[in-house]
């Protein structure tokens, strides 16, 4: 499956965006998010960006106050996922112009739309920022 979930968490450990590509119940999600946040946020800058958790890996990257955490299968290319995170940030940046935590909070659905254009069923679909953003821009224009 590749990507199992994409999670955005702020420094305080509050979830800011969560997209799961396998079904988890509410309780499972809360527990998982809690565990991951505890594990990843405690790490220092010098440590590597990969954490093994349960039977998969978490690849994470920090941008200012936001942590982007991606859960992937063990055979996934961790370095490529790091690039993917960066691509997601760049895409958001292009749309929101200097994206920050508040942009994502107040435009949660747009952040989701972007992610949906990029990842489907745990696989990467599109890596061109222009193509990712086209439908969102069209919708903005229409309204």
């Amino acid at each position: 499956m590749g990507i199992r979930f994409v999670l955005l968490v702020n420094k305080q450990g509050q979830t800011r965006l969560a997209q799961y590509y396998e079904y988890l119940t509410l309780e499972e999600r809360r527990a998982l998010e809690g565990e991951i946040v505890r594990k990843c946020l405690a790490r220092t800058e010098q440590q590597c960006s990969f954490v093994e958790h349960r039977n998969y890996k978490i690849v994470y990257r920090r941008y200012a106050s936001l942590f982007f955490l991606v859960g992937v299968d063990n055979d996934e290319n961790e370095l490529a996922i790091l690039e993917f995170i960066h691509l997601l940030v760049e895409t958001m940046d292009r749309h929101f112009a200097n994206v920050c935590e508040l942009d994502i909070m107040f435009h949660l659905e747009k952040a989701h739309f972007m992610l949906e254009e990029m990842v489907m069923n745990g696989c990467i679909v599109e890596t061109s920022k222009t193509i990712i953003l086209t439908p969102i821009q069209l919708m903005d224009k229409a309204s």
Binding site: Y23, R30, Q47, M105, E109, N121, V125, T127
Partner: protein
């Protein structure tokens, strides 16, 4: 109005939530909002439906239940406007799971004229469709795969992945469509198409063959094009064109090349090109190189290519970036299977990584090191690891200790080295050493007669510096107890060993300090007491002091210690005659049996393994002299036991016996949970070298607790039977009833009602009663009349709490034989009953024998309702028909 961003109320809600200082405040805000949304839903409010859903998504993200909004998603999807549909689909994917039914709506939108709406439906399907939906919608998706629009094509391709995963039979329908996709130019379509191909390869071997034949060339071309392509701004990531596509293609090539020489051959060139030409100073380039190395390792590559790949990993390993080093270690683990020599070359670098400050890297490196270890390098590598143990982080010590122990055990053929390393580990990280590891060490020590002197002296030294390490203390106590005289007289001095003078009282000092140490647990303290008892015989000069020390614990609050203290002081005061034979050195523990047990815990349940019998006799033959005989029998039986005809896991007693050997079987442990803690520890102790007699006393008490007949001190009994024939009995009875069941049952049972004067006799009698077997539940008297008495004893198998095996024992109190005995039982509906045939239909008179029958009861309401049973016994006495009936209500709770 834009329903998503300008709905002020959504913003207000988010602001309100952000302003919350505590979790309680947040819950209050969310509760209020949810109430408002529920109200709006029940009024079927149309205007704010999308806004409510957007709020629900936010609330859902915060981790609150939002199931009541699921229908709203479907309503929004059914509406005609794109924005409503858009948010409806988003809500669908976030709030619903695949169990929800929505295929009708999906089908409608798959046929929509607007490409974006088709895209939405495909995306939702691809994310959450169920197997049934996948089957229903597959034809539509196949059609859309051939759509002219590229966005639809790529989404249809990913939707097909879900369909193929859910219904692998459909894979063949997609094979040729997938090959068409990889001929496209558009990157999105390509990346989706390549992923579809990968999934098809995994779904069936036919599609793998098909794609290998039809796609390999195309994929190689894609890879060449993308890696040679000039700057493409849309797909450029730090100077590399579309690393994602690179990686997907490389992954697929790996699947195609695996185990196929021809396909691998055709890939060699392009892989070499990617491996050499890709920029390695940027993360994106390294990601490609990493994938390329994995592909080279995965396919039937030429040796030149493999060398290239390993060299790339070597470069990665010395990279300053932790991420790169991590993936290198990860990859080297896989490479070890292909070319372990090449990996060996990086040994020193890998060893450095074990000492890294980053836990993820350390963990990977440690795994890798343990794979790298071979006969040739085990000594230097272990030395490095043991040295590092001294300085490593507390939280890493556990992992590291475990690995070192497993490495050292794996290469334990050099006894001295093994023991030396273990001593170091014990003194550095004895608190992290697992029980079975130090149990194994003791078995090894008992098998190394030439080294015992050296070992006990080293342990004595180590104890001086590291007395806080629990397992070091325990091993030291055991060895000082066993080999105390070697500590003092310096016997078995090894070459190069530093001579040291230890007086008898020094040795007692050590044991005393372990006994008095404030943090010692019961096990260590109990082991100290045993060691003291043994020392009192090894060092006659200290016996008065030892006696005082032991007596100090007479008033100990721990029952276990108190009991030992009292019994040991009895031995010291009143039974000097037998003391020396009581505290003889333990017989050599059989290594092969121990290892076998440890290696294959499953053998436990194999009944009466014949192979173990000769081992038992072998052990007794090895014994040096006749004095030891009593010990031999139990030990032999002990070793024998878990494969003996007693079904092991269900008996708590058995658990003890396995503990005796220090075998901690998970199954046995779980079943042992119900057993009384005290005796568990007790026998655990025995395992590590208490002389058997010292333990016999409490264990007798345990098994005798049901009798309540003998108030005579067991010791007096012991002393009264010093004759040779009885001494065998001592040995036999000491180690607990179960192991000796077979032996005992051979001896004719004496009357159960006879007053118990001779404790041992009594014990043996008891042992033939099945009641002893079940420690977990007391045996009950299910029925008693002037003629019949029926006892029920219970056993349970671990992991199946609802199933109880009841062994019914029938005895006849009258003076006439009962014949044609038939036992019947009835149970309520929630219980299933299975009756095995009785051992006989005749019960001898006057309690001179019993018959047994096994009942298997399955309580489907286990934990809710207790067992209940009606029983009926039909039999003949003097040819006269008799009928007894009764109801059993006194089952122990928990059945």
């Amino acid at each position: 109005m834009n329903p998503f961003s300008s709905g002020t109320r959504l913003r207000d809600m988010i602001r309100a939530i952000r302003a919350c200082k505590t979790a309680a405040e947040e819950r209050a805000v969310v509760r209020k909002e949810c109430a408002a949304i529920r109200a709006a839903i029940s009024e079927n409010d149309q205007d704010y439906r999308h806004r409510n859903l957007a709020k629900l998504m936010f609330i859902h993200m915060l981790g609150y239940p939002t199931h009541f909004g699921q229908m709203e998603c479907l309503k929004l999807i059914a509406s005609s406007g794109f924005p409503e549909k858009r948010i409806g689909y988003l809500g669908l994917m976030l709030l619903l799971d695949e169990r929800q039914e929505w295929s009708g709506l999906g089908l409608q939108d798959l046929n929509h004229s607007n490409q974006y709406i088709i895209g939405l439906a495909l995306c939702a399907l691809g994310n959450i469709c169920s197997a049934e939906m996948a089957r229903d919608l597959a034809p539509e998706v196949e059609r859309l795969l051939q759509n002219r629009d590229l966005n639809i094509k790529k989404k249809a391709a990913l939707c097909s992945i879900r369909i193929v995963r859910k219904v692998p039979d459909l894979a063949e329908n997609f094979m040729s469509l997938a090959t068409a996709l990889v001929k496209e130019k558009h990157h999105g379509v390509l990346i989706a198409g390549v992923q579809l191909c990968s999934d098809l390869c995994k779904a069936s071997t036919e599609s793998l063959e098909f794609l290998r034949k039809n796609c390999t060339e195309v994929l190689i071309r894609i890879l060449r094009d993308v890696s040679n392509s000039p700057y493409a701004p849309e797909y450029d990531i730090s100077g590399v064109t579309d690393p994602f596509l690179h990686i997907r293609v490389l992954k697929l090539l790996r699947l195609l090349g695996q185990g196929d020489a021809d396909a691998s051959e055709s890939m060699n060139d392009i892989l070499a090109q990617v491996a050499t030409k890709t920029e390695s100073n940027k993360n994106a380039g390294n990601a490609i190189l990493y994938e390329c190395v994995e592909t080279i390792m995965g396919i039937e590559a030429t040796s030149g290519l493999r060398v290239l790949a390993i060299n790339i990993l070597g470069r990665f390993l010395s990279n300053r970036d932790n991420n790169i080093r991590y993936v290198a270690l990860n990859m080297l683990m896989k490479a070890i299977a292909v070319d372990s020599q090449a990996v060996q070359r990086h040994k020193t670098t890998i060893l450095e990584c074990v000492k890294d400050s980053d836990a993820s890297i350390r963990k990977r490196a440690l795994e890798l090191v343990s794979l790298l270890i071979s006969d040739a390098n085990v000594k230097p590598l272990t030395k490095e690891l043991v040295d590092y143990l001294e300085v490593s982080d507390q939280e890493f010590k556990g992992d590291l200790t475990e690995k070192i122990c497993s490495i050292v055990e794996r290469f334990s053929s050099d006894k001295l080295w093994y023991i030396d390393q273990m001593l170091k580990v014990l003194s550095e990280a004895g608190n992290y050493v697992k029980d079975d590891v130090w149990h194994a060490l003791i078995v090894a020590i008992s098998n190394a007669p030439d080294l015992q002197g050296y070992i006990v002296r080293s342990l004595y030294k180590a104890f001086q510096t590291s007395s806080e390490q629990v397992s070091l203390v325990r091993v030291a106590l055991w060895c000082i107890g066993e080999y105390g005289e070697m500590l003092v007289n310096g016997a078995g001095m090894l070459q190069g060993e530093e001579p040291m003078t230890v007086t008898e009282s020094d040795a007692v000092d050590v044991v005393e300090s372990a006994l008095q140490y404030h943090a010692s647990d019961i096990t260590s303290q109990a082991m100290s007491l045993v060691a003291l008892l043994k020392l009192s015989s090894r060092y006659p000069s200290t016996s008065e002091r030892v006696k005082d020390l032991i007596i100090q614990h007479k008033g100990c609050l721990e029952l276990e210690l108190q009991q030992r203290s009292i019994e040991f002081s009895h031995i010291l005061q009143k039974h000097q005659t037998i003391k020396s034979s009581l505290v003889e050195r333990m017989p050599v523990l059989d290594e092969s049996v121990y290892n076998e047990k440890k290696g294959s815990p499953s053998t436990n349940s194999i009944p009466a393994a014949k192979a173990s019998k000769p081992v038992a006799t072998g052990a007794s033959l090895n014994l040096p002299n006749g004095v030891m005989k009593p010990t031999t029998a139990p030990i032999g039986d002990l070793l024998d036991l878990s494969s003996d005809d007693v079904p092991a896991p269900k008996l708590a007693t058995n658990d003890f016996l396995q503990d005796l050997l220090g075998i901690d079987l998970p199954a046995a442990q779980s079943s042992g949970a119900a057993a009384s803690g005290g005796s568990d520890i007790l026998l655990d102790l025995l395992s590590i070298g208490t002389s058997f007699q010292s333990d016999s006393l409490p264990s007798n008490n345990v098994s005798n607790s049901q009798l309540n007949s003998s108030v005579v001190s067991p010791l007096d009994n012991l002393s009264s039977i010093t004759s040779t024939s009885a001494s065998l009995d001592i040995g036999v009875s000491t180690i607990g009833p179960v192991g000796l069941m077979d032996q005992k049952s051979r001896s004719p049972p004496s009357t159960a009602t006879a007053p118990a004067i001779d404790l041992l006799d009594d014990l043996s009698n008891n042992m033939s009663l099945p009641g002893i077997e079940s420690r977990d539940f007391p045996t009950i008297t299910a029925f008693e009349s002037s003629i019949l008495r029926i006892l029920f004893s219970f056993t349970k198998q671990p992991g199946r709490p609802q199933v109880t095996q009841i062994k019914a024992t029938f005895s006849n109190k009258s003076f006439n034989t009962c014949t044609d005995f038939i036992f019947q039982a009835a149970v309520p509906k929630f219980i299933q009953l299975h009756l095995d045939p009785a051992s006989s239909s005749t019960i001898p008179p006057s309690g001179n024998g019993t018959i047994t029958q096994t009942l298997s009861v399955t309580n489907s309401l286990h934990g809710q309702k207790a067992l209940a049973m009606r029983i009926r016994m039909a039999y003949k006495v003097n040819n006269q028909d008799m009928l007894d009936q009764g109801q059993v209500n006194n089952f122990p709770s928990g059945l």
